[in-house]
Amino acid sequence: MGALTDEIFAPERPGYFGSFGGAFVPEILRSTLDELIEVFDEARADESFWPEFLQVMQSYSCRPTPITYLENLTREIGGAQIFIKREDLNQTGAHKANNVMGQGLLVKRMGKRRVIAETGAGQHGVATATMAARFGLDCTIYMGAVDVERQRPNVFWMEQLGATVVAVEDGAATLKDAINECLRDWAYSMEDTHYALGTACGPHPFPQIVAYFQRIIGLESREQMLACPARLPDRVYACVGGGSNATGLFLGFLEDPEVELVGIEAGGLGLSSGQHAARLAGGMGVPGVAQGYKTYFFQNDEGQMQHTHSVSAGLDYIGVSPILAHWHECGRMRTESATDAEVIDALKLLMRTEGIIGALESCHGLAGGLREAATMDPEQTVLINMSGRGDKDIFTIADALDDAKWKEFLRQKVDKL
């Protein structure tokens, strides 16, 4: 490990990454956060813990996930060689599995019997529900009412997996409100309940815990790139919602100064439209404190959070990992954005040229990566994190692609009811 990695896993001021992070929570939660810090610190000091985690991920979630060279797409774009990390091949179809299985192991160590989690797109909710089923835990998922509506299939699966799904009507009824509701539930239930936060946000120690498990993406990727094509990528790209898949990938290349780290946020209808979910890109967010931590938030002058918009529910969030805020500020990471329209185009291209159905979230990283790869030399390489697969989001994607035959199918289905 190098100095930059130490800043994340052994910072001088616990819980802080540069000037971001901390734990700004109601005092009632202090004791349970302390308990979690203790258990996490014990676990990572235990030499058998990481191998145990790897074993779980290999036997339950197809790890290590491969890296795929996108030969056709590279030819089509006509610039740098394009590689993708296949997090879409995980159990439940996204990198979310890395984090939940890891936290599941911590829950076992704590001896708690119930987990709660927030979910936006539904991926983290589904992942948590599978983990709970596998580990024999009770499970409640909080989901904004707006998201329940746009992600019904995921709600169906969570319920089939044995979880209780609670639709949150407060606020904007999206991801941020689901997080608030989890914190409220936890303030009652902490004695027997763990809050399995889904991204590298929230109060200390969550950003650190999530980064610790997600770094499996980066560790594998670095080794795989060194094996074939036998060189480090010039640039690596990941979409940035809360920031867990980006943090996980970037940690693998953090100590390689020649590798540029590029985060891609949700540009929605364009940054100037105000209808987006960018915080770091384009200076759209400013530092603030909410939901238990200090980072860049998309907020107004008086510190009230603004409504975010993205074609992908998983990026539709007001804050961003304090770890990424730190890398952004100290210049280790560059942050850009991709619009809804660019993302749809990138997804169509990926499907047609490579036969891969990426998640809308991940296609933000792809869109940003393709935009830049086109301007790079053929000897150069880029690695893009395909954080999840899109086929399970058929309703959203069909909507986004405005597919007439699909609409007709839905109409017929409804008629038959």
Binding site: L183, A290, G303
Partner: protein, 258 residues
Amino acid sequence: MNLESYIRERLGERKVLLMTHLIAGYPSLEENWRMLEIMGEVGVDLVELQMPFSEPVADGPTFARANQSALEKGISLTQYFDLMKRSTRQFTFPHLMMGYYNTAFRLGHGAYCDALSDGGSVGYILPDLPVEEGEELFELSRERELHPIQLMTPTNTDQRLAEIGQRAAGFVYVVARRGVTGSRTEIDPELFSFVERCRRATNVPLALGFGLGSGADLKRLQGTVEIGIVGSQLLRVWEEEGESAYVDLLRDLGEGRY
């Protein structure tokens, strides 16, 4: 004003004090004023005036919805401090700002303290600002005679209670139970033993809140804590039963002090 002296003085005339709560801009600024007038008529001892926030994690459903509704109706910091200023000029009870730390953080600690002083407030309650994150703000507050009200909760260890106690000024807000604002609290032996732990951690008066709803509740607190705090129940009565029931509840609460 020295809040602690005020509290001790008031306790010469009553056995427990009453602190009431309202959310600025909810249901409306006009109704806020009426609530304050009633509080003035009944002679409540302290008032906490909440500035709404879009992410009110420490608030239960009733208050969370009220925060959101006030913001949708456009409550601004200017309106908030204007209400506070009018109220502190009109009524004799001391006012505390209640809200979330982002308000202070965005304004800047100095500007936040200035706005509070200018508004006539005696301090603030920021439930998402733990003691170790608040040093700079607390220091600036002391210079301006603003009291940062600290919170103690049943899940805190004795050591943690002592850390909080060291930073206490004015009084300590004792959170009666787990969870968020809004549901009822049993006033039982477990609660009394928790209050005892708080007492050992600080010399300033204790205010107990979360789930109190009647004069009888207040009576039961006499001799245990110096202040009873009532919030959600007042708002519920205003919304569901209207002004005259609100007056009745406040009178009942007021009488519970003797």
